[in-house]
Amino acid sequence: MQIWNIASLTIHEGVRRNIVRLAIGMGILFLIVFGTGVHYIFLQFEDASFISSNEMEIASIALTIVGLYVINFLLILVSVLISVASISSEIDTHVIDTIVTKPISRWEIVLGKWLGFAIMITIYATFMAGGLIMISAFRTGYRLETIVPGVALMALNGILVMTISIAGGTRLSTLANGVVAFMLYGIAFIGTWVENIGSVFENEAAVNIGILSSLIVPAEAVWRKASISFEPRILGNPQFAGPITVFSEPSDLMMWYAVIYVVALLGWSLWSFSQRDL
């Protein structure tokens, strides 16, 4: 019950401080820009007799996957930004002092905050990815292979980086925590590109660097799995997704690793906050 009280306070804060409203508003703007662009591209396609249905399908897949890729990226940014100050700033300003001295365990406070953010991220991922998929399907007629597993993996991605930022917040200042969270994501990001390009040239060292970076932060591996889940044909096929084409599909084991990563890091956060002096 105390966990839910903290979770609902976290969500309430998101609503009251306009974070949710702005995120939804900007998200709608994003979807409008995407929808308008897709509309005019397909308007031209429909008028042109030389565009085959196959080429139109390729364009549909490319636009949808790139759109989802950008949403995944934005989701990661938003997930870090909304949670990065949550614990550290409450420690700095002593807001936390009157809460931890109530009959509530410290781990319940961290878990409650995590739960509140996880709910918001999941809803936002569903809203953004769902909105884009619907717009794409409505205007292009293109249907993704599957939707739910991919959206769930995108939500997992947001939750994963949010968990990193929550964990950092139990020990680091807000700014230091933000730097660490973004840089860790940067490592995962560049590692994935190195792995992707390495796999094209069958360079084992580059592939291993990518695997190692995915072990440090499995965020990009989760996205690659999500994108293949949306459209299996993009695997190793640059004509569908251009530069974000996935050349090596992460294993199911890597997805389990990502889940265990979140659980373990969350467990460490609960322990870390319980141990520290305030």
Partner: protein, 310 residues
């Protein structure tokens, strides 16, 4: 069952010792003042008692339970010194949230919140956001959250900072009310006059060590200083005074000031002043002035703290 009981609580941060030896007891219904200069370890002491920081060694109990016990926190209220609250919450929402943290039922919260807002003078600001509150109003709402659970023990760390005289009187009245209900209050304040007016007992702390604990009644008894001014200060007068050993305590501050004709001495109780006057007049000394003076808590504080430094 004591409200607070600590034995040799100690807190070290690396090589620095913030609190060396915190040993004290506070009884239920007692208002206990905690005095010390800046950096004496007052706030760290409170934080150890409330499990905000973990003691390096030593132990303690709050309301009979070991420090850090989760359940007992439901009977404790706390107003921190440096604090901010969720500025986006309205006063009602803020108290409602803290009521939930105290695991109070909804009906109970709805009953208590208007009463507390009224008590701290914020009834008109029930639906105002905390972000719009002045420092004094924030202090008042902080006090209200500390009282949400009808606590048996309240920690107030500088509760009157930021308050105007009316606000300070309000805090005093609230503390008096808590005492009458049998609630123990642990009060940390720089305003010694506030402590003097409110506390039953005080402890003086310096460098993380409790130097002295005394009841205000005892301090008041000890603190009667008498200024005597006579026409002709003389050795004979000094001898006469010395012969009154039963009435005059030994710690005469300034035996004689020949220029002003003043002698300052201490008596154990007010009744003894009459005896001293009678004795001096009967022995032919002309008394121009015989004035009892209460030593303020501030003077006592400086005596204790500076005395230890020397």
């Amino acid at each position: 069952m004591t409200a607070i009981e600590t034995k040799q609580l100690r807190k070290e941060y690396g090589t620095k010792t913030a609190v060396d030896d915190l040993t004290l007891e506070v009884e239920p219904g007692e208002v206990f003042g905690f005095l010390g200069p800046n950096g004496a370890g007052k706030t760290t002491s409170i934080k150890m008692l409330l499990n905000l920081v973990t003691p390096t060694s030593g132990n303690g109990r709050l309301l009979g339970q070991p420090l850090g016990d989760n359940e007992i926190r439901g009977k404790i209220g706390y107003l921190p010194e440096h604090f901010r609250f969720h500025t986006w919450l309205k006063a009602w929402e803020f108290l409602d949230f803290h009521g939930k943290m105290f695991r109070m039922e909804k009906s109970q919260r709805q009953d208590v919140i208007p009463k507390l807002l009224d008590l701290v003078g914020l009834k008109e600001s029930t639906y105002a956001k905390l972000g719009t509150f002045s420092k004094g109003m924030t202090q008042r709402i902080g006090l209200a959250q500390a009282l949400m659970n009808d606590p048996k023990l309240v920690f107030l760390d500088e509760p009157t900072s930021g308050l105007d005289p009316l606000g300070r009187k309000l805090v005093r009245d609230i503390i008096d009310g808590l005492r009458n209900e049998g609630t123990a209050v642990f009060l940390n304040s720089h305003l010694l006059s506030e402590i003097e007016q409110t506390c039953d007992r005080v402890a003086f702390i310096r460098s993380g060590v409790v130097l002295e604990t005394n009841s205000m009644a005892t301090l008041n008894q000890e603190r009667l200083r008498v200024v005597l001014r006579v026409a002709k200060p003389s050795a004979e007068l000094a001898n006469d005074l010395a012969s009154l050993g039963d009435y005059i305590s030994a710690d005469v501050d300034a035996p004689f000031n020949c220029e002003t004709g003043q002698i300052i001495f201490h008596v154990d109780c007010e009744e003894n002043i009459g005896s001293v006057a009678r004795h001096l007049v009967e022995n032919g000394h002309s008394i121009y002035e015989l004035k009892p003076q209460r030593i303020t808590l501030e003077e006592r504080f400086l005596d204790v703290i500076q005395g230890e430094e020397e």
